[in-house]
């Protein structure tokens, strides 16, 4: 279809129209992203300070070398990795369970799913404040429930050991509904005949899940994992509101440490170098997601599937 459309567009001047259509968006995006990226690339080779009167000096790769020796940089990378790993695995597991459960109640499904989705569509600023109030040591509901169950009260975000798990809990609350909905959509797209055949073969529910459902959901699961990985990588808002990176640097993610260096210490050149490392990591992740998204959706054995896989 597209090949045909392309051939026709040649003689009807469609290409010029297409260029004009794509140009404004591309120009805006290039101006707003390529320019800052090039500018920060240049900054990353200098010792520029935001509030300093001294002219910036070219320092070569010194910022990048310093990055490798910066204990806080490595710990922020570790925080980000721990956050991302827990976020992806726990949200995927619970999301899958909820999606399978929701599938069994077709009548109220859409309404229930939308109710469930409310956390995912709230501003992370709003979400963080809800949790700040829930986490409150003396008057928050969470500690009230713990007390009612005769469990020790927790300091949540103020406890160095619990601060990161608390943030993971907030992220779990905000994004598991979204994961559930993606997986539910994936379940709806599954071909029913496969299940009927398996049922005739006498498969148990667990076998069906393990050998039929999960392999068929592979693509949706991959998209979900990548979307959440990138989300975890960007995490800044809930940290800004709930812990400000603390206690100590226990919740200082890559994005937050970057912000601290640039906007609190005004080490612009150093912060730019760190941005570059982040951007490269994100590009690798985005490249992966594009590889999945560009594949045809749910149409098995499309002729160009092998060609697209190389992207």
């Amino acid at each position: 279809m597209t090949a045909l459309a392309r051939r026709r567009s040649r003689w009807s001047g469609g290409r010029r129209f297409a260029l004009l259509a794509v140009l404004p968006a591309t120009l805006v995006l290039v101006a707003l992203s390529i320019f800052p990226l090039l500018y920060s690339l240049r900054l990353s080779f200098t010792d520029q300070q935001l509030l300093s009167l001294l002219p910036a000096r070219f320092v070569g790769l010194a910022n990048y070398a310093q990055l490798l020796q910066d204990r806080l940089f490595w710990s922020s990378l570790l925080v980000t990795a721990a956050f991302a790993a827990s976020v992806v695995t726990v949200q995927l597991g619970v999301g899958l369970a909820l999606a399978l459960a929701l599938r069994r109640m077709p009548r109220y499904q859409q309404f229930l799913a939308t109710l469930l989705l409310i956390p995912s569509i709230l501003s992370s600023s709003v979400a963080s404040f809800q949790w700040r109030s829930l986490f409150d040591y003396s008057s928050g509901p969470l500690n009230f429930f713990l007390g009612a169950l005769h469990l020790p009260l927790l300091a949540w975000t103020a406890d160095p050991r619990l601060a990161l798990p608390s943030l993971i809990l907030v992220d779990f609350w905000q994004w598991t509904p979204f994961v559930t909905l993606l997986l539910l959509a994936g379940l709806h797209a599954l071909p029913a005949p496969v299940f009927e055949a398996a049922r005739v073969d006498g498969s148990t529910g667990w076998q069906l899940l393990r050998y039929q459902t999960l392999p068929l959901l592979r693509r949706v699961i991959a998209i979900t994992v990548i979307l959440r990985l990138i989300g975890a990588f960007k995490v800044f808002d809930i940290i800004y509101v709930l812990t400000a990176g603390g206690p100590g640097s226990t919740t200082e993610s890559l994005a937050f440490y970057n912000y601290v260096q640039g906007f609190r210490y005004f080490s612009v050149g150093y912060s730019a170098a760190m941005s570059y490392v982040s951007v490269i990591l994100v590009i690798v992740l985005a490249r992966a997601i594009l590889g999945y998204m560009e594949r045809p959706v749910g149409r098995a054995a499309a002729p160009d599937a092998t060609g697209e896989a190389a992207v």
Binding site: V22, I121, V126, A192, F263
Partner: protein, 294 residues
């Protein structure tokens, strides 16, 4: 709210029926699971709403007040008039509507070109998509220096233009998926009948894509309305969107939970209303068009 989950489903039953006994047990397990899920995921929302109508004497009590005796709406007037919530609503609304409108026009045109003509090949698509995943903080410094060089830090213009960096890619990706699913024959017959490309796009493509356009615009509005990290980096107190105001409310000695909750509720309300209007499109929009349900 969770009561709806307990009502057993009708005769339709599960899509893949198994032995009746096992099906029943599984169904009850599912209902219990969904009920627990709703309780957990909606409790913080309930807590925000209930705190927003509590009188100050009930903000910091132990045990906490879960059901207030009376509804106290002064928190909302405090949030609106003492904390700048009204200005927040106006600023959030103005920035979100402007960025959404401009993003829709530019993004939809680009989506059409990408879907129908594969213009720029996968590289251009990839470039546009990758911007969606850029952590705002990563370009924060040059972004800030750029706007301060222009003397435009803390203006509506800076926020609107900067929000385009995610609104355009979002619109382009979701609409690209919709255009790819739209059959080309009607455009082709319009072209054969002598319409220009622009005419065919305007008269044939856009009317057919109307539901998708509305859904995409509303989702883009949600993202713009909710945006927080760019607002934190580019605002200094003159342009105050609602998500930006919330952290400033923590800085007083005595935490005014009722006022904060009321402000949060003001920020949440439009978004929740839109979500219920958009139920059918949420999945597709939120996954940037990657998952096409229905």
């Amino acid at each position: 709210m969770s009561r709806a989950a307990v009502t057993p489903p009708g005769p339709a039953g599960p899509p893949f029926p198994r032995s009746v006994a096992r099906g029943r047990a599984g169904l009850w397990a599912s209902i219990v699971g969904v009920a627990i899920g709703l309780l957990f995921f909606l409790f913080p929302v309930y807590w925000m709403l209930v705190t927003s109508v509590k009188p100050p004497s009930e903000w910091l009590t132990n045990p906490p007040v879960f059901i207030p005796d009376q509804l106290y709406f002064q928190n909302y007037t405090d949030a609106l008039f003492n904390w700048g919530g009204l200005k927040g609503l106006v600023d959030s609304g103005f920035v979100a509507v402007s960025a959404t409108a401009i993003g829709m026009v530019l993004g939809t045109l680009a989506a059409y070109a990408l879907a129908r003509f594969r213009i720029g090949g996968t590289n251009l698509s990839f470039f546009i998509l990758s911007l969606l995943f850029m952590p705002p903080v990563a370009i924060g410094i040059p972004m800030f220096l750029f706007w301060s060089a222009l003397g435009l830090v803390d203006t509506h213009l800076a926020l609107v233009v900067q929000y385009l960096t995610f609104t355009i890619p979002f619109v382009a990706w979701v609409m690209k998926g919709f255009f790819e699913d739209l059959p080309v024959d009607r455009e082709e017959s319009a072209l054969v009948n002598g319409a220009s490309r622009l005419r065919a796009f305007w008269d044939v493509v856009l009317p057919n894509a109307r539901p998708a356009l509305v859904a995409t615009a509303l989702l883009a509005f949600i993202f713009n309305w909710n945006e927080f990290s760019i607002a934190v980096l580019l605002s200094r107190g003159r342009v105050t969107t609602l998500p930006f105001i919330l952290p400033t409310m923590m800085e007083s000695h005595y935490v005014l939970w009722g006022d904060i909750a009321a402000m949060a509720a003001l920020g949440a309300l439009p978004v929740v209303i839109i979500a219920f209007l958009l139920q059918r499109y949420l999945v597709r929009g939120l996954s940037f068009g990657a998952i096409r349900s229905e």
